[in-house]
Symmetry: C2
Subunit: 239 residues, 2 copies
């Protein structure tokens, strides 16, 4: 936690927050903060700044906050991801938030096991918690949006063409001939398949909707590795 | 497992292997292979090819192997990493092997907790197992070397200058003014600090040894995210 993300319900006055639970534990145990210390804070979808510890007990910390810095710029990326295996999904959410991705679509694919959609990590609370952890790691405040589409065909036929409008559109597809471009630095939509990849039918549907197939070289990367590798390749802004 | 990595002890004849344990379980349960099927295999530090299943029982699989393909090119990167937290370390090992990193140095730093060095993941067997998983993911055979240096000062003073000879040498250091270069594509040594970063003293010692401090932008990345982001930025070969 390189920044404590503040939500509306944390505010007890316009410039004062009370923190409990995970953030309190972190402030006490990891940061070892005392009254008078100033800690990085940011308001969700708002400005960042410092919070001065006014009081600190076993049950809560009260901070006086000054918010005057904008968060880092978002990546102009729409990430369209075949629903990953749950234990990987949580880390991918956090990493995506840390990298500055703000628009995440979770879609179905033939090789997505039905059970993946049952994971508790897809609940609103757990999505928010894991995205928060990613933002706090990065020192960012802008909460990503997550869209869940459990049917492949209606998504690619009815929604995807409009979603791709005005964007470079890529699908990471091992074995195709075009390498992934570098330094695009403009609005981009990137589709990443499940373990084992999209099927040829699915790649065909994504191409029909306007996506270009690109490869990631001879090495087969896990999705959680492919996301930072691709983001770093497509955008200078992440560095 | 996109390839089964074969070790000397698996060979019962020059072109025949017997597999048990994890690889057998994967061949049976995940791949659902049958006698006559051909699976991607590779000999550690050697060639890759196909293994034809000759027999398959509950306890072992016998394969006839033809090895005629070179593994993908290695990255010309020496990764010098402050020893990560154990639960992250295992994933970083796997990811580094998947990305094609062949030379990994684990060093001490002020913010490396002493307990990190006690992890069982540092045993020879566990290092080999996790690097194997990373290679099998990537479809690579060349086993990375891992060097453990539990004292910072003797390492940077006595060993690092020779290690950096003929290489670009970088230390990822948040808050410095130079951004990390792109497309270096030549022999490079990259130092990455612990959570919380190297201390100013440590950065000074690394710079004395020949490293240039570079930053990764406004976002603070976890080490497990920084490794693929940096590799992707420094080398086109990974894609």
């Amino acid at each position: 936690m390189n920044l404590a993300l503040l939500f509306d319900e944390d505010f007890v006055a316009p410039d004062r927050v009370v923190l409990r639970g995970r953030r309190l534990a972190h402030i006490r145990s990891v940061l070892g903060a005392n009254t008078g210390d100033r800690l990085p804070v940011g308001r969700v979808n708002g400005l960042m700044g410092l919070g001065e510890v006014l009081s600190l007990t076993d049950s809560e910390a009260e901070l006086s906050v000054t918010l005057d810095q904008p968060p880092p710029p978002p990546l102009p990326l729409t990430l369209i991801l075949a629903m990953p295996r749950p234990k990987m999904f949580r880390r991918i959410l956090q990493t995506s938030a840390t990298l500055g991705i703000k628009d995440i679509w979770l879609i179905n694919s033939y090789k997505v096991e039905k059970s993946f959609w049952q994971t508790p990590w897809l609940s609103d609370d757990n999505l928010r918690e894991n995205l928060t952890l990613g933002l706090e790691q990065a020192k960012d405040t802008k909460m990503p949006g997550v869209h869940i589409r459990k049917l492949f065909k209606p998504f690619v036929e009815d929604e995807l063409p409009a979603l791709l409008h005005g964007k470079e559109a890529l699908v990471a597809h091992p074995g195709t001939s075009a390498p992934c471009p570098t330094h695009l630095n403009r609005p981009t939509a990137l589709c990443i398949g499940p373990e084992g990849g999209f099927t040829p039918y699915e790649v065909g549907k994504l191409e029909e909707a306007g996506c270009q197939s690109v490869h990631l070289g001879p090495r087969i990367l896990r999705v959680e590795t492919a996301v930072p590798v691709l983001v770093s390749r497509l955008f200078d802004a992440c560095l």
